[in-house]
């Protein structure tokens, strides 16, 4: 048989199946195994799932992951829209530069970003020194570092470029004349945004939200290194069950429950955004 261009999908698909799907399938299998004398024994036991079902800590942590994913999505969307719309107004030569400026922070190491924020937000960091110098505060603000605020801020920072890119691509496709027509007909800029631009860019917003939600909700390093006492995450617990406690069935069940919950919330969110009239108009045209 002749090798055709489309057959090149095979090695790639094989790599993803072996590297992603097989490990996830193994998680499913392990969640029904039993642990005896520090050894994993094949079985068909619901012990792990039963323990998970009644554990309020586990469900609290899963809810927390959803919440931090959703808040990062909302914050990046609110900040991302003005930036994306401003980008569409740049000249073509400026856009190339803007992409680089936008993407470079994305390329910096996970630990570099975490490290840098710790210096910015610390007791003697930039923000506190500045505010004290201006006489706004007398004592350094404690909540800046090692708090839920820190996690929210850094997750927003980490994911903002993805959201901007997604909305930007969508906004570039909006016919500029539609906005001008709305303005000519007397719409205020706010109305023009909510009734023309926003509906027409919901596909981009949906793509951006899906991305940011998946990345922020699954993040475990930022909370654990910058969240202080509020930094516990479902993934850190999975890591603990996997490494220290050697309870692989429970670790697998918890990881799967997290994954399934995130998947459900993400599809609900994307589905909701794509039900907007404008989104249907855009998607219908393609």
């Amino acid at each position: 048989m002749m090798v055709r261009q489309r057959h090149l999908a095979l090695p790639v698909a094989a790599a993803i199946v072996a590297g992603c799907l097989a490990p996830l399938a193994v998680l499913v299998a392990f969640s029904f195994y039993e642990v005896e004398d520090f050894d994993l024994v094949p079985a068909f036991s619901f012990r792990a799932w039963g323990e998970l079902a009644v554990s309020s800590t586990d469900w609290f942590l899963i809810g927390k992951a959803v919440l931090s994913g959703l808040s990062a999505t909302v914050f990046t969307a609110i900040l991302g829209y003005p930036v994306a719309l401003a980008l569409t107004r740049l000249a073509t030569s400026g856009k190339g530069l803007a992409i680089i400026v936008l993407l470079t922070p994305l390329y910096t190491g996970e630990i570099v970003r975490i490290y840098a924020w710790r210096i910015v937000l610390g007791g003697e960091g930039l923000v506190n020194t500045l505010l004290q110098g201006l006489g706004v505060i007398d004592e350094p603000l404690k909540f800046l570092l090692f708090s839920p605020f820190t996690i929210g801020l850094v997750l927003t920072y980490n994911n903002l470029p993805y959201m901007v890119l997604a909305i930007w691509v969508s906004a570039e496709m909006v016919d500029r004349r539609l906005i001008e027509a709305a303005r000519d007909l007397g719409a205020r800029p706010v109305d023009a945004f909510f009734r023309v631009i926003f509906p027409l860019t919901t596909p981009g917003l949906a793509a951006g939200s899906l991305t940011v939600f998946a990345l922020a909700a699954g993040e475990m390093l930022t909370p654990s290194l910058l969240g202080g006492t509020s930094g516990s995450t479902a993934m850190a617990l999975v890591d603990n069950l996997f490494g220290t406690a050697f309870d692989w069935p429970l670790a697998s069940a918890l990881a799967l429950a997290l994954l399934a919950t995130l998947f459900l919330v993400a599809s609900a969110m994307a589905g909701l955004l794509l039900r907007f009239k404008g989104a249907r108009a855009v998607m219908g045209r393609v």
Partner: protein, 261 residues
């Protein structure tokens, strides 16, 4: 209106670069304490860094791991893009969804699952495991970069080459490859950069291998040290150089293509 957009962009850039600028400032700050106001200029921390053999070793390790990741991401991204743009590929939608999986499944979940399967089948965690896992995570990015360029190419060029008697391989080498070379270099850089940036996968799969990010993370839990700042800046500059080089290459190719056209 123009001015308002410009202001928004400047504020956004300031937010994105603020932590990096502060980091850089402290790496040259003449004090062991990371506190404002800055107390003077020094190269002391960079000198200390250059004498730290551990960091140098970690640096070499990270670099050696990032190279195969870049190459694998580029090759597999190219194959995936060729398949995605192939005429008459019935499973295109399903294949595209498959390509999104390494991007959408959180890296932490994926790495733990991979660590479990590896220890069951006796595949030792270490550099090889790390390279394979990082390549997989880079694959969606590489594919997006390459296929974004490929869908915009004129398919008639390839058809013309084939009609004139070129074999598929010749048509690929002589017609397609010159046009997508900038995208390929972009895919390679993304692989390298994501590998250098990664900490999550390394935490689960590095085994006894000690890439730089892992060393910094363990130091981070103890204390902040000025020479760590200096090291972060070095990593940052190298990443920026890489981005700059690949962008310059892309532009030069585009100019050449435009000149030839």
């Amino acid at each position: 209106m123009r001015r308002a957009s410009l202001c928004v962009l400047i504020v956004a850039a300031a937010f994105l670069y603020l932590p990096l600028v502060v980091l850089t400032a402290f790496s040259f700050n003449d004090s062991a304490l990371m506190a404002f106001p800055l107390s003077g200029f020094t190269f002391e921390w960079y000198r200390e860094l250059a004498q730290n053999d551990n960091f140098l070793k970690g640096f070499v390790t990270s670099f050696l791991i990032s190279q195969p990741v870049g190459i694998l991401a580029m090759l597999f991204g190219l194959m995936a893009s060729l398949a995605l743009t192939a005429p008459g590929f019935r499973w295109r939608g399903l294949f595209a969804v498959l390509l999104l999986i390494p991007f959408l499944v959180p890296k932490s979940v994926l790495s733990i699952a991979q660590a479990m399967i590896m220890s069951r089948i006796g595949f030792e965690r270490g550099a090889t495991a790390l390279i394979l896992a990082q390549s997989l995570v880079a694959l969606p990015f590489a594919t997006a970069l390459i296929s974004a360029v490929m869908v915009r190419l004129d398919p008639r060029l390839i058809e013309a080459a084939r009609d004139l008697g070129a074999s598929p391989w010749q048509a690929f080498l002589r017609v397609l490859l010159p046009q997508i070379r900038p995208a390929l270099s972009g895919a390679y850089s993304v692989g390298v950069i994501l590998s250098l940036a990664d900490l999550t996968i390394a935490m689960f799969l590095a085994g006894r291998t000690q890439p730089l990010s892992l060393m910094v993370a363990s130091e981070f839990r103890r204390e902040l040290r000025p020479d760590l700042n200096a090291m972060q800046v070095v990593v940052l500059v190298l990443t920026a150089v890489l981005v700059g080089l690949s962008e310059a290459y892309r532009r030069r190719r585009l100019h050449k293509l435009a000149a030839n056209a």
